[in-house]
Amino acid sequence: MKKLLGITLGIMTALGGFVDLGQIVFTTQAGALFGYHLLWSIGLGTVAIIVYMEMCGRVAVVAHQPVFAVVRDRLGKRLGLATLIASNLLNLLTCAAELGGVAIVIHLLTGWNEHRVLIGTTLVLIALVFLCRFQWIERVFGLSGLLMIVFAVSAVVLHPDWGNVARGFVPNLQAADPKRGLLYAYFAVGIFSAMLMEYEVHFYSSGAIEEDWKPEDLSENFMVASLGSFLGSLLTVALLILGTLVYLPRSVFPDLLSTAVFAGAFPFAQKALVLALLGTLVCIAGAAVETALSGGYNVCQFYDLTWGKNLPAHSAPIFAAIWIGTFAVAALIVLAGVRPLQLVNFSIVFGMAVMPFTYYPILRVAADKNFMGKHVNSRLDTAIGIGFLVLIILAAIAAFPLMILTHAGRP
């Protein structure tokens, strides 16, 4: 039972990581514009995140090095600090977007005023994280996030052409019209980026240490990383299928969270709509928690300060102050009137630019026999890791120009 519950770390990491506000809207848009043709980027992103999540877990357990300690040691203080600032800025923006998304979903469920809901939700999430042990946080968000399964059921009930779905996993360039080609590239890069958001690996590796994993638990590490990511990926595929079946034939470009949620309940009625809203709510709230905690983990790991969700706040005061501060500032950003989906578009592209500086040091340590001993990467692991790192770097280089050229994905 304990092992089974351990999987919730992978599920929460993946659901909060790549079934968050940005991915929900972005993937539905990709389906509405290109049908199944971008499924391959979900497949690619899934394999990449499994490979790197597993490496992060292994490094955390064997070398007792969470991600930002690795970043500091491998990149040096200066570049490491720049990466820390960029990553935490990204966490803050993403947390703000997710809190805004939570307020939208609760408004759609209850009709309550969004601003008041935002303040209330922020306080509730702070209280929840403050009072619950790490294991309970991951269980609550990991298991209740499974309500998102209603999106997958809707996608199946709408009878997609499975042959076309399978063909979507093979990359194909749509270069006939240059504008459409650029849009295609933008969405491919965006989906790949959203699946590899750094806070996922920060949270996962810190979670492995919070849960006190030992080297003998490493076989589970791969299972937890794969199963969680596979589930998140399945839901992402479902979102893309829904975009294809519900919105592509109607020439709708889904630009609102409510539009994406509507697709999740499209073949059904009120109960499914409520389930879709609740599933979305949990995933987005989980992402807000992940980003806020990651902010605290990153700073403390970088400066070798005491950290840990399971420690009393007075034993890890800076850690507690940072994650609570992240929540508070994020809520203020949304209250100031910034639209959550604008933030998300920016954070996905900005995240891509920062990504190589997180993933490169992890690969270096995982392949270092002095650190990892018998748990060092095999040659195949390293080759796959390098392959994905090259893709991450190429995507990072392309992200900003594509955002500008496509007006942030405007058809």
Partner: protein
């Protein structure tokens, strides 16, 4: 139909006035704006049909329609800041007028969520708005 004509008479001079001395739009911009407006009209039409089948909750319907209305108004505001060359002006004006009409219909649906006849009439009006926009887009 009566509502459409009335709104056209009111909105056309207003939008023409707003069009003076604004940012110049290219053919691509006008095309892109029309695609967005078609998307909003089609989305509204789809949701009103869903509503007519009693498949939405009250709060979701109200919140979603409010989101759609805000988006339509935001797009209309962006369009009001655009000017275009004479050959594009017709399409741009159709876009402006039809978006104004769409806003009226969405607001109407939001205020009569439980009234089947109003929903049916609005769905029909929104379909006509969408078709006008599609026609303007294909004339570009």
């Amino acid at each position: 139909m009566y509502l459409n004509l009335k709104m056209l008479l009111v909105m056309a001079p207003v939008t023409l006035l707003l069009a003076c001395g604004k940012q110049q739009a290219s053919r691509d911009d006008v095309h892109s704006d029309l695609i967005k407006s078609i998307s909003l009209a089609s989305e509204s039409e789809t949701f009103v049909r869903y509503l007519r089948q009693h498949r939405s909750t009250y709060y979701f319907a109200s919140g979603y329609l409010n989101d759609l209305l805000n988006e339509v108004n935001r797009t209309a505001k962006e369009l009001s800041n655009l000017n275009a060359s004479p050959d594009l002006m017709d399409a741009l004006n159709v876009d402006r007028v039809q978006l104004s009409l769409l806003a009226v219909q969405i607001d109407n649906v939001d205020r009569h969520l439980q009234q089947a006849d109003v929903l049916a009439a609005s769905e029909d009006q929104i379909r006509k708005i969408r078709m006008s926009l599609v026609q303007a887009n294909s004339s570009l």
